[in-house]
Symmetry: none
Subunit: 213 residues, 4 copies
Amino acid sequence: MTASKNKARIPVQKRSIETREKILNAAWELFAEKGYFKTNTNELAERAGIATGSFYGYFNNKKEVGIELMRRFYKEASEKALSNFYIQIGNNVAENLDTGRKLVRFIIKSLKESHAINPMLHKETTALILLDEDVRKISKEEDKKIITFLITFLQQYKQLIRVDDIEAAAIMLFRISDEIIHRIMINKEEIEEERLLGELEDMICSYLFITVT
Amino acid sequence: MTASKNKARIPVQKRSIETREKILNAAWELFAEKGYFKTNTNELAERAGIATGSFYGYFNNKKEVGIELMRRFYKEASEKALSNFYIQIGNNVAENLDTGRKLVRFIIKSLKESHAINPMLHKETTALILLDEDVRKISKEEDKKIITFLITFLQQYKQLIRVDDIEAAAIMLFRISDEIIHRIMINKEEIEEERLLGELEDMICSYLFITVT
Amino acid sequence: MTASKNKARIPVQKRSIETREKILNAAWELFAEKGYFKTNTNELAERAGIATGSFYGYFNNKKEVGIELMRRFYKEASEKALSNFYIQIGNNVAENLDTGRKLVRFIIKSLKESHAINPMLHKETTALILLDEDVRKISKEEDKKIITFLITFLQQYKQLIRVDDIEAAAIMLFRISDEIIHRIMINKEEIEEERLLGELEDMICSYLFITVT
Amino acid sequence: MTASKNKARIPVQKRSIETREKILNAAWELFAEKGYFKTNTNELAERAGIATGSFYGYFNNKKEVGIELMRRFYKEASEKALSNFYIQIGNNVAENLDTGRKLVRFIIKSLKESHAINPMLHKETTALILLDEDVRKISKEEDKKIITFLITFLQQYKQLIRVDDIEAAAIMLFRISDEIIHRIMINKEEIEEERLLGELEDMICSYLFITVT
DNA sequence: AATGAATGAGAATTCATTCAT
DNA sequence: TATGAATGAATTCTCATTCAT
């Protein structure tokens, strides 16, 4: 079951890679339009402009597409975040509280951007994580990467930070930011985005840093 | 209104109410065992000890059972929380920070207990909220109730609280606590429960209250 | 795999038994017309005058129908043979060679009749036995019954029979008669049926009985 | 003629003949491992070390490979039998009963060896003969050759043989020996091989020859 | 009201064969 | 000639819901 037949090719030729890409793009669109569960492999193939059977030359099933897309999602989001990060904050270790707040703001902004990439897909992915063991495993791995990054990051700010348990703090930081942004994007809390994000920022800052401005 | 056939009766007779109850209990069990999606109506009926067709005398479709169950879930959780609340904290307005931290601790504990009622069902419900518009609507209503309660509650603590936007604070409080507990219950973060909950408590206290002990 | 889901009902009610019978009759016809492999479950349902899904209420898959049919085939054939047997030969132990030859003739005739019931189905069943482990197992059981019967039978003729190894003789008797008849029915040997059956009779008689007339 | 595209070349060049051979060897292996029906053309090509499409340069379809293999099977078996035959029995016409029994023993042994070449393949071929008209035709032709040989052969033993209808006898001889050996090889009758083969020999001898030793 | 058989639209997947490169 | 990606009809099986009894 786990290590199944794996009949799907690993494409190397340009044409194959393109077809694989076509499938992923179709899935990206369709999952965003109708959601993962309401999209079937036939539609997927049709939208990709290929035959039903061709789909199975590239993926063993729909879930594999979902997982690949989730991976890309994570990758795109974290790459975007990281690249922006060094532009905005720079490589220098933060020296003052202002930088601390800037940092928090930046983290929130980055996560928000990542959610904005494809909100429906993000939502579907979140559901899939809840419903499927395999998907959950992958998402955990990816989350781990982000958290690890946050840990090393927070450690650079050590002198500013009043929290002892950096690891727990990083997890907290990631989870609550992600959750609040998720709520804003999807569930449309009956409250203005700015108010909620403002409080989120305040909360994190008051938690992380010795004095709150 | 227009489209809904609504053939399911609202049972008044004792026997009917019992049958309805049997269905809900069966669903509670099965959704917990295999999840909402992997349970089919035949199993549901069988477990409830009724005929397949009889199910539709009590519910218009499978989703309705899910929604009803979710409602009960919320109700059970919040009733439990509220009843415990007044026993522990009392009706008196809090007068010191100690009470503040106690309050936070209590909220966390209550939420945790609500998650513990039926973790699998909670997970499935969460997924369903993401995937289904109707379910989402109901959950919003229920969330609203909780948030409203938290707002009135926080207002009683006004003099201890440094936050201006009580409404946003209540939402934050609810969302992040719920999320962190959810992660602990389901995803098994690679961190000890106590550490994470400790930080959560700290974070909320440092955010809500003027001075952190 | 072996002891699978078994979702098919075991029908008790008259209506259910009728439907099951309709499916088996449809299969009997279709397997005879187009063969087992070229018939699919949709056709089977259609011919039976039921919906596709209904089929799966009675059988878990096509193979189950095949096995059931094979069982009936065996049963019908052996019941026919046995009932005829006592009418023709009577219950008395044979006393002369004439009875011996009569017996052989009768066995051949019975087997021939069983093949004639539904030649195509018989052919398909034979193929299925070769190709499918489960089917092979069942056919072995059924064959065993026939062979056991032949053994007890030959033992009644002991004083006429020159063969020591009655068990081996019974198996031989069954297998070669079946094979020759099968060839006549299906493969249409380029030889007249009577000639071949005549030789078969001679061969068995000269093998079994002390003197050949 | 009309419908057959016959695009597969008849290879003459050494390299082409080698490729064809590679395909046949792959099929020989795979059909023996998994059977004809469970082997697909992709596997076949892969095992042969060629591209999927290339397969159709050498054979018009999968069935053709099966037929070719069956032909080789027959050829290999009969060649083996024949070559051994003249070594063991010699060209001289048999002069005594001992030679008669020797002959029978030899025929049985030869058939047994032919079954032993590749039992699984033999089984699959037998099924294919039952299921496919074309395959059946070819097998009939090949069987005819064997039977013809047996006829000429038995005629050489005329003075020892009590049977009038030599043709029918030859067919009988072939069919029953083949069947019994087939049962021994594949179906594993619940009886020791030696017992069954011993009876087979006895039966044929008592049938063919005037006096049984 | 209860029963449980019947429905039938779907969905996933396979694979012999073709065809563009 | 060789390649291997593409084809798409075909097949199996599921399940929420309906309906005759």
